[in-house]
Symmetry: C2
Subunit: 399 residues, 2 copies
C-alpha cells in the first residue's frame, strides 16, 4: 500500500487508533517510522550537536533551511561538496523547506508579486529574488530527500481576504513547483494554508490534494494564533488530508502539540524548540520544564530527568548532574548547550516512540491525557503552562 509518486518513496500506514496512525515513510536515505519529529538543522548542523548525537536520539529525518543555506554557503557550494547529506554528514533522510517562511519572517523590504518574492538578505542587505522555480532549483542542488513547495506565508494576524489571496497565489506556485525540474529521487510536498479558518483550510486542501504531491503539509500554524485555534484547525483538517500520504505539520511544536497533533492524524513535525530552548537553559522532561539556571539546582546531583534513559541522564560515563549543568550554563560554557540540546532531542524522540507504541496498543488518547496530566503537575509549570490540560481535552473532543 504505497501511494507516493516519486521513485524511491513510499508511505505505508501500519496501525491506526482513531485518527492517529503509525506508518513508515520510506525515502532513499532512510525508512522513518511515523509520527516522527524532525530536528532542525538550519545551516547544515543541528545547533551545538554532532550528527552522530542527533542520530542517537532516534531521529530519522532532519530539516534543513533552504533560505539559510542558499545565503550561506550557497547551494552551489553544498552541491560541490556532495549535497546536503554528505556536506553535513547526515546519513538518514533530509527534508528542506522552500525558503519562503524565512523570506517572509526574516528578510527586510520584501515585495511579493505573482511571479515570486524580492527581498533583501537579513545578513548583508543584498537583493535576492525567490520564485517557485528558484526554490526548487536550490533544493535540487541541496539534494534533500523531500523538497517543499514555495508558498506565500501571510502573517499570523492576517485578515481573511489577505489569507485568501495568499492561498490563491500559493496554489499557482504549487503548480509551478510541480512542473519545475528537480533532483532525481527527490519527493515534493504541497503546503495547505488558510490561517485559522477551517473552511479556508479545507478549500485549499481541495485545491492541492489531487495534484500529485508525495505528501501534504499544513503551513501557517504556530505563527501567533492561540493554542486553542491551532488545535481546532488540526482537529478539523488533519484527518481530512489524503490518508495514503504523509501529513506534515510545519514548525510545530511543544511536547503537547506533538501529542495532540499525532492524535489528530499528523505524521511529521519539526520545530527549533528543543534546541533553541536548550540554549536558553530550558530542559524538557516527562514532568515538565526545568530551567537549569535556577539557584535550587546548584547542589542537585540528580539528572535532568530521572525518567530519561538517554546518555545525558543515564549514560555510561555517568549522568550530567543538574548542579554541574547549572554551573556550565551560568558560565556560558558550550557544553551546557550541547548536553541540554541532546537531552531535549532525546526526550522528543522518546516522546514520539511512546506515542507510536500507544497508537499500536490502541490507547493513544489515554496516553496523551496521562502524559499531559503529568506534564502539568511537574514541580515547575507544565511544558505548555497551566492551560495544557483543558486545551488538550478540547483538542480531543473536536477531533
Amino acid at each position: 500500500m504505497s501511494a507516493l509518486v516519486t521513485e524511491g518513496f513510499s508511505f505505508e500506514t501500519l496501525h491506526t487508533d482513531g485518527h492517529a496512525r503509525v506508518g513508515t515513510l520510506t525515502t532513499p536515505h532512510a525508512v522513518v517510522e511515523t509520527p516522527t519529529f524532525m530536528p532542525v538543522g538550519t545551516l547544515g548542523t543541528v545547533k551545538s550537536l554532532s550528527m552522530e548525537e542527533v542520530a542517537a536520539t532516534g531521529a530519522g529525518i532532519v530539516l534543513g533551511n533552504t533560505y539559510h543555506l542558499w545565503l550561506r554557503p550557497g547551494a552551489e557550494v553544498v552541491a560541490g561538496l556532495g549535497g546536503l547529506h554528505r556536506f553535513s554528514r547526515w546519513p538518514r533522510a533530509m527534508l528542506t523547506d522552500s525558503g519562503g517562511f524565512q523570506v517572509f519572517s526574516l528578510s527586510g523590504l520584501r515585495k511579493v508579486d505573482d511571479e515570486g518574492v524580492s527581498f533583501r538578505s537579513h545578513l548583508d542587505g543584498s537583493p535576492r529574488r525567490l520564485t517557485p522555480e528558484e526554490s526548487i532549483r536550490v533544493q535540487s542542488l541541496l539534494a534533500s530527500d523531500i523538497a517543499m513547495v514555495l508558498d506565500e506565508c501571510p502573517p499570523g494576524d492576517a485578515d481573511r481576504p489577505t489569507i485568501e489571496r495568499a492561498m490563491k497565489r500559493s496554489t499557482a506556485w504549487a503548480h509551478r513547483c510541480l512542473r519545475a525540474p528537480r533532483a532525481a529521487r527527490q519527493a515534493l510536498f504541497g503546503i495547505v494554508q488558510g490561517g485559522i479558518h477551517e473552511d479556508l483550510r479545507l478549500a485549499h486542501l481541495g485545491d492541492l490534494g489531487d495534484l500529485g504531491f508525495d505528501g501534504l503539509a499544513l503551513g501557517g500554524l504556530s505563527v501567533g494564533e492561540s493554542v486553542e485555534d491551532m488545535h481546532r484547525v488540526l482537529a478539523a483538517v488533519a484527518h481530512q488530508m489524503p490518508s495514503a500520504k504523509p501529513r506534515y505539520l510545519m514548525g510545530v511544536g511543544t511536547p503537547r502539540d506533538l501529542l495532540v497533533g499525532s492524535l489528530l492524524g499528523i505524521d511529521m513535525f519539526d520545530c527549533v524548540l528543543p534546541t533553541r530552548n536548550a540554549r536558553n537553559g530550558q530542559a524538557l522532561t516527562w514532568t515538565g520544564r526545568v530551567n537549569i539556571k535556577q539557584a535550587r539546582h546548584k547542589l542537585d546531583d540528580g539528572p535532568i530527568d530521572p525518567r530519561c534513559d538517554g546518555p545525558c541522564c543515564n549514560g555510561e560515563g555517568g549522568r550530567y548532574t543538574r548542579g554541574y549543568l547549572r554551573h556550565l550554563y551560568v558560565c556560558d560554557e558550550i557544553l551546557a548547550a550541547r548536553v541540554i540540546s541532546q537531552h531535549n532531542l532525546w526526550f522528543f524522540g522518546a516522546l514520539m516512540r511512546a506515542m507510536r507504541e500507544a497508537i499500536k496498543a490502541r490507547r493513544a488518547e489515554a496516553f496523551v491525557h496521562e502524559t499531559l496530566r503529568i506534564f502539568s503537575q511537574g514541580d515547575e509549570v507544565g511544558v505548555s503552562g497551566p492551560k495544557a490540560r483543558s486545551v488538550v481535552v478540547s483538542g480531543f473532543k473536536a477531533g
Copy 2:
C-alpha cells in the same frame, strides 16, 4: 624506582634518550605515560568538548583552574557534588593550579604582602584574599590528584630584583603550602621561578628541590619572553630538576615547545592553545597551521589533516571536510569549535605519543628536527612561524 612522597603516587622513568625521558606517572585516578600534554578544563569543562571526547584524544590528565572554580561555582559546591572528578565527569587524573597565576593576570586591584594576596574578582569586583593555606584548602575541596603551591608570579617583563623578591616570597609560601592540611592522596608540586635568568632559576630550584614535593614545575615561562629565552632557560634548567620526580612546564605551549621541552627533559605540559585557537578557527596539523576561515577552503572536501587518524579527519561517520568546517565557522556554529578543538587535542595527543615513541627508539632529536622541518614547510606558515627551525636548533644545542 618510585620517588613520590604522597600515598597513591609514583613516578618511574622507563626510557631515556639524552635528557628526554619516557615515564609513567601513577596517580589515584590514572597511570599517565609521560611526556604528556594536559588539556585545560578551566571551569570543570575542556571548552566545547565532552570529557568522553577529551579522553578519546589520549589525555590522561586534565588541568582545572582553581581561581575560576573558586569564584564559580565555589569550591564548596564542587565538593558538595563529589569533587572535581565527579562534578566534571572526568575519570582520569586531574591537576589543579594554585589560583595564583590568574590572580596575578586576571584580577583587578591586587595587593601582595608576605601573608598572601588581596584582589578583586574579575567577575564582580568583590574582594577576595588568597593565601597559601587558602589555595591548598580550595584545592583540597576540589580534590584533584595533584595540587600546586601558591607562588608569586611576577610579570614577564619584571626586572631582576623584582623576580628575586618574588622567588623569596614564593619559597616561604611553598613551605607553608607543604605544612597546610590537604586531601588524602593528593600530591603537591612546587614551582620554580626565576624569569629568564638561568642562575636565578637554578638558585630557586636549589631552594625547592629537597623540600619533599611530589614533583616540580617551572612557572613564569611563556609569559611574554622570547622563544629563544624560554628554550635557553629550559636547556639550562630542565635536566637539573630532580630526575626521580615529574617535571612540569606550566602554561606551555605550541607543538614546537612541547617537542623541544620534551627533548630537554620535561614530562608534563598544559596550555589553552589547542582549544582557544580552535575557537578562533585555527587547526593544528602535522604540516602547520590551517586557518579554516580562509576562502580557499570553501570547496575543499579534504579533511583538516590527511595525516591525522582522529575521528574528525578519519572517523567512522565520515570526515569533517574543510569546506563544511569553514561554513560552520563563518556562521558561528558551535560545531566548528567542537570539531576543531577535538582535532587539535587529538593532534597534541598524537604528537606526544610520537615523541614518546621516538624517545623509546632513541631518536628523539631526529624526530623533533624532522617534525619541525615539516611544520615549517606547510602550505601555511609553520605552527610557530618562520623562526621555528632556527630556534629549535639553538634549543637542542644548548641542551
